[in-house]
Symmetry: C2
Subunit: 343 residues, 2 copies
């Protein structure tokens, strides 16, 4: 099956109305992806007239791209589950349904993350045995490798069994997408000792310790940037706070350096050097280059990107979708869930 | 009462065996503090022979400092509550008891944070009406002000009433220690909307919203370095992860810049500029200069510092203890707890 599937094209549907700069960046990103990789077909889902007008105005050649018309748009401010129900003709709902109906192999969106998660979970559906689909966030580390934290905010009241699922799915993600052999799993906690932690952490530690997963033990907040483990699992509340705090570091640095630069001409010259060095030294922290993160645990490929996704980010989302398709990631997730499941 | 107290000397007991470089840094810090401020008396609590030998060997003049002998030491690896009970002759227990018995006005330690919290809570005792004493962590922000997060790990399974107490005590801390008038309070959450969050956040939001405190609303991980509010409240699990993640940022930057510098002579010259600029631009992130954080909610002044506290950090802990004493912070905490308490 792997063989035959890899021979045919991978069809990636894109939410053309999703990002803050939609549909422009989505169009550019789609064209970039088609230039870079073979065996992929791109479908733009969105307001057809707007898509064609934008392509024409910006001289973007979309002749090789098909369009599926969608008259509604789910905004960033929409309540996810409500929007999914009340906007059946939205690009996000139609795109997810293309995957559900096996018309497309993957769906990518830079739109409302919560709505994408809801659409993936409710429309595409969960993999058998998965209680809670999850979205991870990958952090650059001092080792040069990435550490991916699950969950980063898909659900806020997580149970030990959910953290256990995140560990299984995260392992497949790290080994297949990052090519890390036998990835290590850490449990985010307030101390290294087994006796440390809140109720959730204590119970999750026991579940992970008694499993056949490659469990390293507890890790702390400082171990994320250190790259102590490949996968970190935690409840979605903590993971979301960590994600937003970590993402704010670059902006904080920029402002502090600007404040320094504003104190004189010599300072501003030095600050210029700093900006150039940090741009190179911290290039891993450019979240655009990651190109979105997959919703893991659903029965199809669904990738969600930043609202501010650049054409490069959109291209990378499509590339990642294709990679997940080629590597049969969904099937591998299902196998792993069955293999390691406690019950 | 305020008048008469401020006229007499503030007696600060120091855990001379606490930090990683004890008793050396404690001795140096004590001498620095005595040089800088009047009306303070310092008591070193620890192994008297070791203290005298160290002072003699390093030519530190401790003639103005009294010593209270303590033959035991609580180590960083000791389990807090067990250590408090099993090591009654430790510097940490004796120091806390000096405050309990009103022999000293304050106790500062760069030792085991958990043990210091336990000693402060169990020996000095809680302020009436306080369920959970708390330790905050102050973060530099892009506004130049500090944002202090309570709780930073004192307890991991927090209840809404605890977060409410943190908000009250944090307000007093920010207005008295940082001189921020009517400080704003944010609830750490996964989104700005009132409907967002886990069970704890949802219930805490209602408690804070319906109180007379200066509640701003929900804040997210990114709002800490932005300095959106003066005080952030959250459960100690999340707060501890945030603290350790934030503290790791500088180390991560240093390593990334070193990796850049190692790629050639031009790079290493540029990296030198970067290091010098960041040292100035990010000087607020030097946790040593804060000089420890008080245990809030206990019936006496107790300040805990980093294990790696420098002499400067120890000096700043003593200065902060003196400031808290002069400002009658404990009495103000008690008044505020009574004023805002729900019951």
């Amino acid at each position: 099956m792997t063989e035959s599937r890899n021979k045919r094209k991978c069809i990636v549907a894109i939410d053309a109305m999703g990002g803050d700069f939609a549909p422009l960046n989505e169009l550019h990103g789609a064209v970039l992806a088609l230039k870079e990789i073979d065996n992929v077909e791109v479908v733009l889902v969105g307001n057809e007239k707007l898509i064609r007008d934008t392509a024409s105005k910006e001289s973007i050649d979309i002749s090789k791209i098909s369009i599926v018309d969608a008259q509604e748009v789910i905004n960033m401010s929409d309540t996810p589950t409500v929007a999914i129900r009340k906007k059946p003709n939205s690009s996000l709902v139609i795109g997810a349904n293309l995957v559900k109906e096996k018309i497309a192999d993957a769906f990518v969106s830079a739109g409302n993350t919560g709505a994408m998660l809801a659409a993936a979970t409710l429309l595409i559906g969960r993999i058998k045995g998965v209680g809670r689909p999850t979205i991870g966030a990958s952090y650059p580390t001092q080792t040069g490798k990435f550490t991916t934290v699950f969950d980063s905010g898909s659900s806020v009241d997580s149970k030990p069994s959910h953290l256990f699922e995140y560990a299984i799915m995260g392992s497949i993600f790290a080994s297949e997408i990052y090519n890390y052999p036998n990835p290590t799993i850490g449990l985010l906690n307030v101390g290294e000792e087994e006796s440390k932690g809140n109720e959730l952490a204590l119970a999750s530690h026991q579940l992970l310790k008694n499993s056949k997963l490659n469990f390293f033990g507890n890790v702390e907040g400082r171990d994320i940037f250190k790259g102590k483990v490949d996968i970190v699992v935690c409840d979605g509340f903590t993971g979301n706070v960590v994600l937003k705090l970590a993402e704010s570091v670059i902006g904080f640095l920029k402002i502090k350096i600007k404040q320094y630069a504003d104190k004189g001409i010599l300072n501003s010259l030095k600050a210029l050097v700093v900006k150039n060095v940090l741009k190179v030294a911290l290039k891993d922290m450019d979240y655009q280059s990651h190109g979105g993160v997959p919703v893991l645990g659903v029965n199809g490929i669904a990738i969600v990107g930043h609202g501010s996704s650049s054409p490069l980010a959109v291209k990378n989302m499509i590339l990642r979708a294709k990679e997940m398709y080629d590597k049969n990631l969904i099937e591998k997730m299902e196998e792993a869930i069955n293999k390691y499941a406690v019950n």
